[in-house]
């Protein structure tokens, strides 16, 4: 997550609906965009006010006293926890298990602790400068120097506070991972399959733009050569973190190629993005897996020359099965099947964890409700609307070429950040 360049002011009142016209100087997204702040569900949710003059990449969210107070509480809690863990680690009677768990948690807290230490030091420096200013009001040079140093220190304090806020916000460990893309044609028959293919290609082009590797796993073709189902493994740092918002139902409104009367149809395509996982992430042992290959009925080995090296892997504890057949060697089929299996197992585990989250967190963006209708592609009007952030992009062709997708994703990231800050301030840390 990163702080995106917008001025955010926290208000405890009903939000305003804000519409920007094309000629406004500070438009978030390239091209012509209309923005509407969504009506929130709780009184605490911030409204977004555009700081039109100061829009730049350096603009940061403002830290209100509310946020700072909560941060202070958290800082103290972390400092206390860290001290406690240090003590445990230094106990001579600690067992190796206790030692390693305590040490592990210490390591996780270390980055935040470092920021806290820096921040405390800076705040001490500011206190020192304050008393200096009070003590010598007549010394003009001293006043001047102290004031300058004070403003520099304040800047630094603010910077540290923002970094600290960022480190305290709930993070998804999976954001850095590679992901698996699954596209499935929903209602709409052939037309849905054709659009599923368009969407799949859109992600392929987007991946190429980002320099990610796009590795087709499987494609099930429909009669008119659309895709009934298609999946791919997308590899690149942070791929999941950017694509995770694509999970959900994408709706398309257009005249199908099969339609003779020129009537507009609405069809749907569902997209799922799963983070890739390693065997360690999902704690799978070799004994848990059963691997089957295609048996020609003959004796195999030197007897047969077959190009069919399909592999089916069953995860015995959960019953999950994955089969991959289109790679040219059995080894590659197997390795792809494992990749997909681990991703599915990881997703199972994550949705279990999701279910136990607070209600607030569950409502937030990216909560992974696959059946949520997230976007509409309206061809006759030439626009794509994302319903979660209420953003419309007026160039379908660009979106399908993978171009404007980045803009939508940035807006979604911003919303996620806002949601995270909201749960931070509401005291819910999950």
């Amino acid at each position: 997550m990163r702080f995106l360049g917008l001025g955010v002011v926290w208000r405890r009142r009903l939000p305003r609906v804000l519409e920007l016209s094309e000629s406004s100087p500070a438009v978030l997204l390239s091209g012509s965009v209309a923005f509407r702040a969504l009506p929130p569900s709780s009184a605490w949710t911030p409204s977004l006010v555009w700081d039109l003059r100061s829009y730049s990449t350096e603009t940061q969210p403002q830290l209100t006293t509310g946020i700072i107070k909560i941060m202070e509480q958290r800082m103290v809690a972390i400092e206390q926890r860290s001290a406690y863990l240090h003590e445990r680690v230094n106990q001579p009677e600690a067992t190796t298990a206790e030692y390693s768990t305590a040490n592990k948690e210490l390591q996780q807290l270390e980055d935040t602790m470092e920021l806290i230490r820096d921040l405390r030091a800076k705040q001490k420096e500011i206190d020192g400068l304050k008393s200096l200013l009070v003590e010598c009001p007549e010394d003009k040079d001293m006043q001047h120097m102290a004031t300058e140093e004070m403003s520099a220190a304040r800047e630094e304090e603010k910077r540290l506070q923002l970094l600290l806020l960022k480190s305290l916000l709930p993070k998804d460990d999976a954001d850095e991972k590679d992901c698996i893309l699954e596209v499935r044609a929903g209602t709409g028959g052939e037309e849905a399959s054709l659009f599923a293919m368009d969407i799949f290609k859109m992600y392929e082009k987007f991946s190429q733009k980002k320099g990610w590797q796009f590795d087709v796993v499987e494609i099930m073709v429909s009669d008119l050569k659309g895709y009934k189902e298609a999946s791919a493994a997308i590899s690149g740092p942070g791929a999941y973190g950017l694509l995770k918002f694509e999970s959900g139902v994408h709706r398309v409104q257009r005249v199908p190629v099969t339609e003779k009367s020129g009537r507009i149809h609405t069809s749907a395509v569902s997209v799922a993005i799963l983070p890739q996982a390693s065997a360690v992430d999902v704690q799978v042992r070799n004994e848990d897996l059963k691997i089957d290959t295609y048996r020609s009925g003959g004796s195999g080995g030197q007897h047969a020359n077959t190009t069919n090296s399909a592999v089916r892997i069953t995860h015995l504890p959960s019953g999950l099965t994955v089969s991959i057949q289109d790679e040219r060697s059995q080894h590659m089929n197997k390795s792809k099947a494992l990749k997909v299996l681990y991703a599915r197992l990881y997703e199972l585990e994550r949705s279990r964890q999701h279910a136990s989250r607070s209600k607030l967190r569950a409502q937030q963006i990216g909560s992974g409700d696959r059946s949520e209708r997230i976007r509409t592609y309206n061809f006759p009007q030439g626009r794509v609307t994302d319903h979660r952030v209420g953003i419309t992009v007026h160039s379908i062709a660009e979106v399908l070429e993978g171009e404007s997708l980045e803009a939508l994703i940035n807006a979604l990231l911003l919303q996620e950040e806002m949601d995270a800050i909201a749960s931070f301030t509401s005291g819910s840390s999950l």
Binding site: G300, G301, Q302, H303, H331
Partner: protein, 384 residues
């Protein structure tokens, strides 16, 4: 039953209607008493031996999308009509139409570029107009592709020989007539070697030379050399009696930059490795293990095109395996590891038993390891 054919000029193959006639090779059911015919050495295959494999040739040709579309349609219908016209019930290892169509896709990818998707030829949707018109770069004339596909479907010539490569594990190995096409089952041998090497390294037992006996295309030699990286073993020695094998193995060793790691010596089994007697840290082999009388009845791709020298294991299929067992006790150093691929359950049990009892106290940890089809495919063990 030696058939010699002069390949027809490529041009006349263009757009010929699919033939319903199947070659005599694929339809003949040879009676058990007939003497096995020698591996057919056609003029065309001998000539092809010296050509660059298709997948390595430069993209100096091209064809229009329409022409490729026509080729694809013709090729698909050839598959379906051959399946329909088959004069005998399908052999269990006959390729299914769906698999042949997938091979067709791979042929087109090897003949052009990896990213080429024949599906694009038929899709009518939003791809940009420019891409739809531009010709597709190819490594051979389209006419040659017609000939190649006809050979695949009608003569059951293995795809791997036609494109000149086999994808095996995470590698692409050059193969051609005269060497056995590496089998998917054999991929597991490399994993077993990796495991042994890791354990040995962890226990502080250093490297040492390994050997791949009967290396064929060099698949195992190159495969194990890659897992026995620096610090996990010395060189890998690959032996084979066949000159074809020596030549192709050398190519694959070069392709993977392993000239310093893998040494290829021509000769029979242990014979070229006299200087390493008693010193090998491990040896692997996928020796010919098919009983001689089964050879004629094999799937046509195998019996009609692959070298019988790499398949024939003598009367019970055990001749070479027994020779390897006998030689291993002196070739391996104490603690040395061996893995042999066999014809399956019965042979594995026989060999495992033989190895345990024949030289009392020679070997320990003898195991039968199954392949993914559940057949007891490999015998492994350690020299005491």
């Amino acid at each position: 039953m030696v058939v010699s054919r002069i390949p027809p000029p490529a041009a006349s193959l263009l757009r010929r209607p699919p033939s319903h006639r199947l070659s005599r090779f694929s339809s003949a059911a040879v009676s058990p008493s007939a003497t096995p015919p020698p591996t057919p050495e056609t003029f065309s295959s001998r000539r092809r031996r010296w050509e660059t494999p298709l997948f390595l040739r430069p993209l100096t040709h091209s064809a229009s999308r329409d022409d490729l579309k026509a080729f694809h349609s013709w090729a698909s219908s050839l598959v379906l009509s051959a399946a329909a016209a088959a004069s005998r019930p399908p052999h269990p290892s006959d390729p299914e139409p769906a698999h042949l169509l997938r091979e067709l896709r791979w042929l087109l990818q090897d003949a052009s570029t990896e990213s080429f998707d024949p599906h694009q030829l038929f899709s009518s949707s939003s791809s940009s107009a420019a891409a739809a018109i531009s010709p597709v770069p190819l490594r051979a004339e389209l006419g040659e592709l017609y000939g190649i596909w006809r050979e695949r479907v009608e003569e059951r010539r293995p795809l791997q020989y036609l494109v000149g490569c086999e994808h095996w594990r995470d590698m692409v190995l050059v193969v051609r007539e005269g060497v056995l096409i590496p089998r998917p089952e054999t991929e597991a041998v490399v994993d077993m070697v990796a495991e042994v090497a890791v354990t040995a390294a962890a226990e502080g037992e250093g490297g040492g030379p390994w050997a791949d006996l009967g290396t064929g295309s060099g698949a195992l030699a190159v495969g194990i050399a890659r897992v026995l990286g620096d610090g996990k073993g010395g060189k890998v020695y690959a032996t084979d009696v066949s000159s074809d094998a020596i030549e192709v193995a050398k190519i694959n060793v070069q392709r993977y930059g392993l000239e310093d790691k893998v040494e290829i010596r021509q000769g029979s089994w242990f014979q070229p490795l006299g200087d390493l007697d008693g010193k090998l840290a491990g040896l692997v082999s996928n020796p010919p293990y098919i009983p001689s009388r089964h050879l004629p009845g094999l799937q046509p791709e195998v019996s009609g095109h692959e070298p019988w020298l790499a398949l024939d294991g003598g009367e019970d299929g055990l001749d070479h395996l027994l020779h390897l067992c006998n030689g291993s006790s002196s070739a391996l150093r104490p603690g040395g590891f061996f893995v042999f691929e066999t014809n399956g359950d019965d042979q594995s049990e026989f060999i495992a038993d033989f190895v345990t009892t024949k030289c009392r106290g020679c070997f320990n940890g003898v195991k039968i390891v199954p392949d993914f089809s559940g057949i007891g495919r490999f015998v492994t063990g350690f020299r005491r």
